[in-house]
């Protein structure tokens, strides 16, 4: 049984101007100790998906479908179980380390609060665990950092602290929501490698949310590509890169700069902008921007279905190779 299993997840927000269909038909699973990348641009529903799992959505959101953690229904946790669930079994790393630490509290206090609450550790036990965590996320001079304030640390350091906080109670599942987007490019790689290393060392499952396919390429076992609140394609990382089926995934790949490209090569942007989620999905959300678009794409919604060659490789597209277009000409 997978550690995290998300089935037919849909999230709708009630707004003054009617419902917004932020996420629909999302399916994926993460095995114990494995890494899943969720890739998509802004508004693709990746953050909403994660927030629904972390029980962070506002009361205007309606969630349907199911999410199970180790067989446990995450949307209907018994209150006794919930008390020590988030921050213990499932932890989260946020996008912006500038705002995910409280500026007026010392690093040490912020690190130890969670473990003292959930595990009833004594002050000294919590401190030694905190120092161990700081070493684990490779913060040099941990004893000094322990008593510093967030503003005395660089962005990369702060993100390490945030990661240490997330690891405090040995989560089996860590969700990282664009953990490097707010960081310097040179620091991004270090943080990603750190997360990858920690996942292996601690045998922890990782869900890595990003808008950058390059980020998940070498660091995840599986990838889910989202667009317009729906899953466009999902496959193992190796399979996805070897055989990218969905036109959106391919467009994403083409938009990544490659060091081996000849000088002066222009990147391929994806023209247009993400769909308006206030309209109930009745057609492929990517149709307006798709190079392979055909008449059917505009009237019908493609279901997520396995590829004939590989049943583990799912995609939602009527016309992945542009054949329909050619036929119709």
């Amino acid at each position: 049984m997978a550690l995290l299993e998300v089935k037919d997840l849909a999230v709708t927000f009630a707004t003054a101007s009617g419902p917004v269909y932020a996420v629909s038909n999302v399916n994926f699973s993460v095995e114990r100790g494995e890494a899943l990348g969720i890739v998509g641009e802004s508004g693709s529903g990746k953050s909403v998906t994660v927030k629904s799992l972390m029980n962070l959505l506002p009361s205007t959101a309606t969630i349907t479908g199911s999410a199970t953690y180790d067989g446990l229904d995450m949307f209907n946790l018994a209150s006794s179980r919930r008390k020590h669930f988030y921050g213990v079994d499932v932890a989260m790393v946020f996008q912006n380390p500038m705002t995910s630490l409280n500026p007026v509290k010392r690093i040490g206090v912020q690190l130890t609060e969670g473990m003292r609450y959930h595990r009833n550790l004594s002050k000294s036990a919590a401190k030694s665990r905190a120092l161990e965590l700081l070493d684990m996320v490779r913060i040099p001079d941990s004893a000094k950092r322990f008593s510093q304030y967030p503003h005395e640390l660089s962005g990369g350091m702060r993100q390490r602290v945030v990661i240490a906080m997330a690891l405090a109670n040995d989560p089996a599942l860590l969700i990282a929501d664009e953990p490097t987007t707010a960081l310097d490019v040179t620091v991004q790689r270090d943080i990603l490698d750190l997360l990858d290393g920690l996942r292996r060392d601690l045998d922890m499952a990782l869900v890595l949310i990003t808008h950058d396919l390059g980020v998940v390429r070498d660091r995840t076992d599986d990838i889910v590509v989202m667009y317009g609140g729906r899953v466009m394609e999902s496959a193992s990382t190796a399979e996805l890169f070897a055989n990218t089926i969905h036109p959106y995934s391919r467009a994403l790949r083409r938009s990544i700069p490659d060091m081996s490209m000849p000088r002066g090569t222009r990147l391929d942007p994806i023209p247009g902008s993400p769909p308006d989620l206030a309209i109930a999905p009745a057609a492929c959300p990517f149709a307006p921007r798709c190079v392979n678009v055909d008449a059917i794409c505009k009237f019908s919604l493609p279901e997520l279905a396995p590829d004939t060659a590989n049943s583990e490789h799912l995609f939602a597209c009527f016309n992945p190779h542009g054949e329909l277009n050619e036929e119709s000409i």
């Binding site: 500038m98 500026p103 969670g114 609450y117 490779r138 503003h151 005395e152």
Partner: protein
């Protein structure tokens, strides 16, 4: 600033150790400490008035009528020969007390309601914001006159009338500051860790809101002291007590007295001015230093 070090023989990453910023005490500057020292001195004199070796403020004919300052009678005497220094020290007691109680009232009510409104939002926030706007548009002087004439011209009710006026500005700042921090991810992180609303409000948000608020508290106290002076000048402040405002009114209401011995009014005016200036300056410095801190984040 970045010097690469190798850990585990593989990853090179940044080790940033920025030069330690100057201490907060240093950043606040000499002006802040001088201002604070002056305020502390004034407060200490007010508290110690009964045991200080100064003349009884009610005793007349200690000096000549409007006698100028001289050794032993440093601030001179007023039109009835009372010691102006002694009057100023005793007068500070009510002025400071009224300013202090007013700010405590404004902060405990305005601060609490403002933070709650900024955190919980929704209908509660709308109602509170409307009340704040209403309070702000109510003519301040009318409100003060209304409260003191209806409920009595005692220290308590004069303080309450000024405190009520402080609720809206304090509450609006508290609400705005809370809005800034409530959306931050550390609040979400605390919620994930299982923190209750109460804990988030008290442990996560309050410390962040308190610093800009403390600056406002000092400014507000200065404003309240001046406002009490205004009420006293209009003869609607504390009835059976002597504040700076009352003293200034006593000494300054007769043009002839003013021409003959301006010191009787100028000394309390000067002390009032310096006290309010010090409070304002100290508050400003606190805000500047901690705002700059905030920007570094």
């Amino acid at each position: 600033m970045a010097d690469a070090s190798t850990i585990d023989g593989s990853t090179a990453f940044e080790v940033i150790d920025e030069p330690a910023p100057p201490s907060v005490a240093r950043q606040l500057g000499l002006g802040f400490w001088l201002s604070s020292a002056f305020v502390v001195l004034v407060v200490a004199l007010a508290l110690l008035a009964p045991i200080l070796p100064i003349a009884d403020p009610d005793q007349t004919a200690i000096g000549g009528r409007l006698e100028g300052p001289r050794p032993g009678l440093w601030f001179g005497a007023d039109s009835t020969g009372r010691d102006v220094l002694s009057l100023t020290i005793w007068g500070s007691r009510i002025s400071l007390l009224v300013g202090f109680i007013a700010i405590v009232i404004g902060f405990s009510i305005g601060g609490t309601v403002g933070i709650a409104a900024g955190y919980f939002r929704g209908l509660f926030d709308k109602v509170v914001s409307f009340i704040f706007v209403t309070l702000l548009s109510f003519p301040a002087l009318i409100l003060a006159i209304l409260i003191t004439t209806l409920l009595g011209r005692t220290v308590l009710w004069v303080s309450v009338s000024l405190g009520v006026l402080a609720i809206a500005p304090v509450g609006r700042l508290a609400r705005a500051q809370t809005l800034v921090f409530a959306e931050r991810e550390f609040v979400t992180a605390a919620r994930i860790l299982g923190a209750s609303d109460r804990r988030i409000l008290v442990k996560e948000l309050l410390p962040n809101v308190v610093i800009p608020m403390s600056a406002l508290a000092l400014l507000g106290m200065g404003i309240a002291i001046v406002a009490e002076g205004t009420l006293a000048f209009l003869a609607i402040s504390v009835e059976d007590g002597f504040s700076w405002g009352r003293q200034i009114q006593d000494a300054g209401s007769s043009v002839r007295d003013l021409e003959e011995g301006p010191h009787a009014a100028l000394f309390p005016i000067g002390v009032l001015f310096l006290t309010v200036l010090s409070l304002n300056y100290a508050g400003d410095r606190i805000r500047d230093v901690f705002d700059a801190k905030e920007l570094q984040l």
